[in-house]
């Protein structure tokens, strides 16, 4: 009897953890996708991402085939999102606590998303080019 009760509680908690991990990120994708953070000026595409307690928007979409720069904005950022890693362009840096970091992404090809992570790996963002 006792054991079944504990088993049921355990199952409920496992579901709870699942919701915390997966449910949350789904919501973020929806809000992130609609964000207006891509701008084209003088033939250069600028993508802006805010870094503090994670990255927002978490998913951006931009156009492939034009020179692209990524602007990462920090504002009193002390957490992991300040130590940014973008493997596809070999970028690794701990950003200043408040400021803007401009990262050259080259000319991205279609279908090759760019992914950024914080050094501990618990925050990430991605940019789709299509």
């Amino acid at each position: 009897m006792n054991k079944t009760a504990y088993t049921i509680i355990t199952m409920a908690l496992v579901v709870g953890i699942g919701i915390v991990f997966l449910g949350g990120s789904k919501n973020n994708t929806e809000t992130g996708g609609s964000a207006q953070n891509v701008e084209i000026k003088d033939g250069v595409q600028y993508i802006t991402i805010n870094a503090r307690g994670g990255y927002s928007p978490k998913v951006s979409s931009a156009k492939p085939g034009i020179p692209t720069k990524l602007i990462v904005k920090t504002n009193g950022t002390y957490d992991c999102s300040a130590s940014l890693v973008i493997r596809s362009v070999g970028f690794q840096k701990i950003l200043s606590q408040t400021g803007e970091e401009v990262i050259d992404l080259g000319t991205p090809k279609a279908g090759q998303p760019v992914q950024g992570l914080c050094s501990m790996g618990m925050y990430n963002f991605s940019i789709n080019f299509n």
Binding site: F21, G76, G121
Partner: protein, 335 residues
């Protein structure tokens, strides 16, 4: 000449048999001691007139410091361990949910603008000690503390050494960063690998605390446990682990290191890192001394197993995040 059979607990490995037999055979009043690892018993031939109960106490004194214990009855914690694990899993999971909810709640994302002074870095330390950094640093502290207390090593001394080592090395390394300036870069891959190593230790100790190894006798190579045993007794070990936490991947620690780098002098770098370490101290002290007081209390078996569940959860989180950080796997989650 009488022959007794006692139960022995704490035997992890094949070499434990040899150690116990050697120690017991050294006692003058014992003619022959034989350990049976499968049944966890030791058979003793003795010409002592003590009654069995007293005999187990005398002999336990000899091997206690290595974590073994003799008893006439099968140890009671062993009997109820099955029930305990069913309580421990929900307790551990509840703590994990609370922890991750706290991370999601964005309470911890308050921005602190302006110049980094020792006061702000102390506050950042306070925040960091309940942030996702706790998954690695706190998880490591919790697992090591629980393990040390479980093995009955003089835990207070070990913890004091750990915290002293941590404070001193943060201060000194912060000072060095301030003095040297931008010359040393803190290597991302290095910290990530150290983080993976820490998460592996957490998983191993977590499984050990839950009792997977003890129960199923999944005999870890004897060497690993002897290694743990040995390093637990060294004075230097807790100091070194305290030192190593400087390099563990934690975003807050890293931004503090950058502030120390930019601070321009030995003293200012030292103050920033020391204040930061002091800020993280209350939570870590709570973890280590809290686990010690639980470990010596009535609910020790429940505490060890719950702590084991928490540590396994945090270890898995740190492991997956670390692998993602290194670009080995895709990030699975976004806290």
């Amino acid at each position: 000449m009488k022959t007794y059979t006692f139960h022995v607990s704490g035997t992890h490995c094949a070499s434990c048999k040899i150690f116990i037999e050697d120690t017991l055979n050294e006692q003058g009043f014992i003619k022959n001691a034989r350990v049976n690892l499968q049944r966890e018993t030791v058979e003793i031939e003795t010409d002592s007139d003590e009654d069995p109960e007293a005999l187990t106490h005398i002999l336990t004194e000899k091997i206690k410091s290595n974590g073994y214990k003799l008893s006439v009855e099968k140890s009671s914690t062993e009997k109820q361990s099955n029930d305990v694990i069913w309580k421990a899993i929900p307790i551990g999971l509840s703590f994990l949910i609370l922890f991750f909810l706290l991370q999601k709640s964005e309470i911890l994302n308050l921005g602190i603008g302006g110049q980094t002074t020792p006061v702000t870095s102390f506050i950042i330390g306070l925040i960091a000690s309940v942030s996702s950094c706790l998954a690695i640093v706190g998880g490591l502290v919790l697992s090591l503390s629980a393990k040390v207390s479980q093995d009955n090593v003089s835990d207070t001394k070990t913890f004091l050494l750990f915290h002293t080592g941590r404070l001193v090395s943060f201060a000194v390394l912060g000072g060095v960063l301030g003095a040297v300036g931008s010359a040393i870069g803190i290597n991302f891959t290095f910290t990530a690998i150290l983080g993976l190593l820490a998460s592996m230790v957490m998983l191993l100790l977590g499984l050990n605390l839950v009792g997977v190894f003890a129960k199923n006798k999944v005999a870890l190579p004897a060497g690993i446990f002897n290694f743990f045993r040995k390093i637990e007794h060294k004075t230097l070990t807790p100091l070194i682990i305290g030192f190593a936490t400087f390099f563990l991947p934690c975003g807050f620690t890293q931004s503090m290191q950058i502030s120390a780098l930019g601070s321009g002098s030995f003293m200012s770098g030292l103050l920033i890192m020391l204040a930061f370490a002091l800020g993280t101290l209350p939570m870590l002290v709570l973890l280590s001394f809290g686990s010690a007081s639980f470990a010596h209390g009535k609910h020790a078996p429940l505490f060890f197993k719950s702590a084991g569940v928490v540590v396994i959860g945090l270890g898995l989180f740190a492991l997956l995040a670390g692998l993602a950080g290194l670009g080995i796997i895709n990030p699975l989650f976004n806290i």
